[in-house]
Point group: C3
Amino acid sequence: MWTQREIVLEPRPRGLHLVTGEVTGALPELRGVRAGLLHLLLQHTSASLTLNENASPDVRRDLRTWLDAAVPEDFAWTHTLEGADDMPAHVKATLTGPELTLPVRDGRLALGTWQGITLCEHRDRGGARRIVATLWGEPG
Amino acid sequence: MWTQREIVLEPRPRGLHLVTGEVTGALPELRGVRAGLLHLLLQHTSASLTLNENASPDVRRDLRTWLDAAVPEDFAWTHTLEGADDMPAHVKATLTGPELTLPVRDGRLALGTWQGITLCEHRDRGGARRIVATLWGEPG
Amino acid sequence: MWTQREIVLEPRPRGLHLVTGEVTGALPELRGVRAGLLHLLLQHTSASLTLNENASPDVRRDLRTWLDAAVPEDFAWTHTLEGADDMPAHVKATLTGPELTLPVRDGRLALGTWQGITLCEHRDRGGARRIVATLWGEPG
């Protein structure tokens, strides 16, 4: 049983954003999977997808603060034509990664209690972001 | 052919720990897979799963030393209620990631000679850690 | 439908290198998959696989510059027997990761316009690098 679909995430400001609901809401077929996996590829190189703490927004803010400090705009970049936030965005996206594979059990994502799918938007104005979602598993 | 199972890793101190044997020992079904994949999701946001050098323990120690230096407890954190080791743990877990997909060939994980599944425990007292393991492939 | 194959990447100097063509060229079965996934495991702990910008080589150079600055050879390493570039290579490989799962749609990788499969060679002379490629999906 395979489902493959493009999901377009609405534009968000720079920072980390929970998108679990937006992703699962676009995949009603999840409910029909007894045991399987959901793969998500973000088709961009200046934003990323992670699993992060889904309760305290201050955890997401602190994550952004650390990333901004570790990968500063003021650095020996040579690729600067697309703006000061562009090259740091590529590095942050490389460190945190563009794709996730998540287990599906009894029609739901089998995440930990505190885990949420997180869009890491590293550009000031990244615009809408596109995900290719692939779901497969045993129906039940 | 799908197998999905929860594996509880025993509590370990802060640091990097090889858990290949503990994981594969909990999955006797591995031996029945000719070609397939094993997916592991660690259901936590302050520990992570990586593939690392499986021989020299000093490589794992040096990795920890670097992570502690790059993500210090003494930083402009705002989320500090759960202890000085908590927010650095979330950042380190985000950098190293909570999940792995590994190829299975002829009944065994097809890892490189020097690769081992590594639990990165970023908390001082993280307690037991839970993995959802999903195995699927062609029997043979 | 399962295909599993070892791909040996030719030796490359330290730095980031696009290998999309080398990988897909070794997998003619891709063309027969309507909807599926391709998993790539690099069987090494001092190099890594990422998705990165496939157009500007200066983005790849800047990524290397940042990694070299963030994980310097001059640090409190204890594991130094295999050369000054070895322990930094393990850390960089851990941060960027050894494996990728990529969606396949209508016989092609469904990557973003600017995404390319990137071998991050963190050693000065890493030699040939081995990938285990696993492809599965619905034929069509």
